[in-house]
Symmetry: C2
Subunit: 250 residues, 2 copies
């Protein structure tokens, strides 16, 4: 009876083993940004696989944003500092193939941006307050000149808040989702009637948010930021989805 309990095996591709090993080295800090990998020929010797296998592994690592290789570079592939590019890519894919609605995206932003403001109100430094101030000034300066500069300043403000929150995950996710949202409706916003009025209203709202952050009133900052974002985007959100967004407004 009994006998050893065997487990089902899954064949694991040769290139996967290579990816795992290099990934492990990067994630444990054995390989740090700036380090160069051995050349493809050296790697095929070290792993005792063919060049194609090495290259497939490198392509996967490159797709994950861990390394970059350039033709002719005698130093081999370069280990890159982490960027949320891969995260961005998969979230964008999610938004496209899984039919993420604008309402869901905006709701997500409202949630994370409010949390960032809540935290920033407690943790912000003077320098960070100055950054937010500068961003709003830039919004004011750009209000007349066009939507692009205004949007850039708006992004700078929200990014400053996100950084001040001290939560890198919130910062990265807000950044990713914001760019997806802007990408979805940039043209609609640019074509909106009464752009000037919208910009002025947005500036006023941002000033109120900043005042709350400066005063250290996190809950107020959070509530105002949700309202600001709701007001700014609600017209582009299909009516049936608006109820969910209003549910986020306290």
């Amino acid at each position: 009876m009994g006998g050893p309990r065997f487990e089902p095996v899954r064949t694991v591709r040769a290139y996967e083993r290579i990816v795992e090993q290099i990934e492990e080295a990067v994630e444990t800090g054995t390989l740090t940004p700036g380090h160069r990998l051995p050349s493809e020929r050296d790697l095929m010797a070290q792993f005792s696989v063919s060049r194609s296998t090495v290259r497939e592994a490198l392509r996967v690592l490159q797709a994950r944003g861990l390394v970059r290789s350039r033709p002719g570079d005698p130093n081999g592939a370069e280990v890159l500092p982490f960027t949320p590019a891969a995260l961005h890519k998969s979230m964008t894919t999610l938004a496209r193939v899984d039919q993420l609605s604008l309402g869901e995206l905006v709701g997500f932003r409202m949630t994370l941006d409010a949390a960032a403001n809540l935290l920033a109100a407690r943790l912000r430094t003077e320098a960070q307050l100055a950054e937010m101030d500068a961003a709003i000034s830039a919004m004011r300066a750009a209000a007349g000149t066009g939507y692009d500069a205004f949007s850039a300043a708006d992004v700078a403000f929200h990014d400053a808040v996100a950084r001040a929150s001290g939560n890198k995950l919130i910062q990265i996710c807000t950044d990713v989702v914001r760019s997806i949202v802007l990408n979805l409706i940039a043209e609609k916003i640019a074509a909106a009637p009464d752009q000037d009025g919208l910009m002025r209203q947005s500036i006023r709202h941002h000033e109120e948010v900043l005042a709350a952050v400066r005063a250290g009133d996190g809950p107020l900052a959070a509530r105002l930021s949700r309202q600001t974002m709701y007001d700014y985007y609600v017209t582009y959100v299909p009516a049936p989805e608006r109820a969910a967004l209003r549910a986020l407004l306290d």
Copy 2:
């Protein structure tokens, strides 16, 4: 003066062009899950590239979770339904290389889970309430038998809430971050003293949250869920990071 404004060109690899085309087809719905790609030999003919180039493209697409290819499959690579696996992978990488702290992860979960409860309190159906009820029952049943079953039931509850929120982005992100957090501290929780007391407390908290969701009191459900998660994880979070988590508690 003037003249045409030329833009810097970046050489784009052959395999990248293939990835772009197939990715586009998947994201626009031209290729839907279950569809088979042509065989590698057909692809090399269609794109007029070599086999290696096709394979590197397929490796990238596979790394992004869009397709899967198996040896010997007489059909080509299979187009997969979207899974957050790639998202999970990049977030895990982020957590490891960028030293994402447990405090940041828990803060993120508190934020998203609270938002999910806020929305679920408004949008939940009777069937979803029943699922949450069943999950809490499972938690009760598992409280004596061990941590694993208890944790699974706990996950089921939070997942039911996330689904009831109607926001797929919230659902997926909570799922991803939850598994990362659990992976980080599963052993610590399993080794905690007075496990039974912690489980009983957690069950009581979950019941309160569910009551609020059932009553349609979103803000209360959100506040309780934040508190529940804070209580459950705070002992594992380094003291300096706890202030930020408390800032999220209203």
